[in-house]
């Protein structure tokens, strides 16, 4: 059995979770997921400003605080915090001077194949991580591997799974899916939250057996709970077809069996089959600029008020790229000003930065010449760039999945 925990479900998750997980009880591996489609865009913009960035900087702070502790306790750290620049993150960890053995997984960056995109990253699987773990890395940092690979990689290394151990790989993938969003498995964001104490849910842990089955649990004394319901909720998060496609295995979510266990929930029975011939690629490009504001429409004549301000703004600015939504939150004869008010959201999306900026000036110029009671919830900004996400699929042989081992040797997986 290998005990794998999670301390991060996104870039911005609880900073102290790495220490909590290391100090809270027994662990073999501690994973952290820092990436999402939107995060890749944020990191892409970081990298535009400074080519040495492009990784999750909070992870570096966590390592500065906790990597020594992890090494002392014999806990291997595995995180996709490398983002767009895993080798840069490895260098920054090296500079902390803790003497930790670092493994790096890279090769996901496909900007050469998609030059029109700001970011282009294939979703790599678990085998690069497995190589780094087998080579004795204290910390493995990766680019865009699938979230579940953070769990599958160390489990595969520990149990010596082969590339076609489909059921074991599928079992670990399902476990990885449960762990990847941190406290969403332990009562966070949970529909029946009123039946649990979820003020400060603990992060999840999986005890994974050689056949890929596992017990999902958490450290003693932490908040939240691991129940069949909290695990079910997380299994349903961000999935599509029950045949869940990944780079290493297709995991059949309609074969998962959950049962209560003394320390949480046991997951078993998961069937796997070979993965697709192609790898998915996450593409982000800059779509243009956006800006927006929310007009507050209070009391009588809400529709006429909305019509007036909309007509005024569209006449002054031109209607191109403007979207309007009216939230009819107003109640008649209300006893508070807020519940007497409706909210009119206006958004502009435009390729022209100047037009996005002009939106603000135009909206504010109306302030003394529009509907009675004119005000906005927050003044509009100068406008911000926005990204457009797209998925693409490439043949596997277009991608060079590489593991840089702690001794500096680079192997293609």
């Amino acid at each position: 059995m290998i005990r794998i925990g999670n301390a991060s479900g996104f870039y911005g998750d609880r900073l102290g979770a790495v220490r909590e997980m290391l100090e809270g009880g027994e662990l073999d591996v501690l994973t952290g997921d820092y990436l999402a489609e939107l995060t890749m865009l944020i990191l892409g913009r970081d990298r535009m400003r400074d080519a040495s960035l492009g990784y999750a900087r909070t992870f570096l702070r966590q390592m500065e605080d906790c990597l020594g502790l992890a090494v002392e306790r014999g806990v291997t750290i595995v995180a996709n915090a490398g983002g767009l620049n895993p080798l840069g993150l490895a260098e920054a960890i090296e500079k902390l001077g803790l003497g930790a053995k670092i493994g790096v997984v890279s090769g996901d960056d496909l900007r050469a194949d998609f030059p029109e995109s700001l970011t282009a990253n294939a979703y790599l699987g678990a085998w690069g991580i497995a190589e780094c773990v087998k080579a004795g890395a204290d910390v493995v940092v990766t680019g865009r591997v699938t979230d579940a690979s953070l769990v599958v990689g160390p489990a595969a290394a520990h149990h010596g799974w082969a590339r076609d151990d489909w059921d074991a790989l599928a079992g670990a993938t399902v476990v990885g899916h449960v762990l990847e969003c941190g406290t969403q498995a332990t009562g966070g964001n949970y529909s029946f939250f009123t039946s649990l104490d979820v003020d400060r849910p603990g992060f999840p842990i999986a005890e994974i057996e050689a056949d890929g089955s596992a017990v999902v649990t958490k450290h003693d004394g932490t908040g939240g709970a691991v129940t069949v319901d909290t695990v079910t909720a997380q299994l349903l998060y961000e999935i599509g077809d029950p045949a869940y496609l990944g780079p290493d295995v297709t995991s059949h979510f309609d074969t998962i069996a959950l049962e209560p266990h003394a320390r949480g929930v046991r997951i078993s029975g998961v069937r796997g089959s070979p993965p697709p011939e192609t790898l998915k690629v996450c593409l982000n490009s800059l779509g243009g600029f956006r800006n927006g504001t929310t007009f507050v429409l209070t009391g009588l004549d809400v529709d006429a008020k909305a019509d007036l301000v909309r007509r005024q703004l569209e006449t002054a600015l031109g209607p191109d790229g403007l979207t309007w939504t009216l939230a009819r939150t107003h109640q008649p004869d209300a006893d508070t000003e807020e519940t007497a008010s409706a909210l009119l959201h206006a958004t502009i999306k435009t390729p022209d930065a100047k037009r996005a900026k002009a939106f603000s000036r135009t909206a504010i110029e109306l302030a003394l010449g529009s509907y009675p009671g004119f005000h906005v919830t927050a003044p509009p900004s100068d406008g911000t760039p926005f990204g457009v996400y797209r998925a693409a699929y490439v043949p596997r042989d277009r991608v060079q999945h590489q593991a840089t081992l702690p001794d500096g040797k680079v192997i293609t997986v």
Binding site: L41, S191, T232, G240, A257, F386, G387, V388, Y389
Partner: protein, 106 residues
Amino acid sequence: MRLPLGTIAGARSGDKGGDANLGVWVRTDEAYAWLSKELTVARLKELLPEAGEVVRYELPNLRALNFVLRGLLGDGVASSTRFDPQAKALGEWLRSRHVEIPEALL
């Protein structure tokens, strides 16, 4: 009885590019038998009129249905002008909709 669906069903929702996913589950086999009959694609679209193209998947082993709402989020979270651009609360919206629930399931 006419009650919010969330009286007996849990839900979790999120984004995948421009699509939203919405998983709904219940806690007994009897409730699942009812849910899988009640919550057809057509019924989901009645309850969530903002939905366009919807695909439904069944997960009887989890007593769950998973819906994919195609294109609900436009070009993805970073560009969507939709209220709740990541569809995080779509599931809680569905749970708040009133439906006729057999008394035996309450």
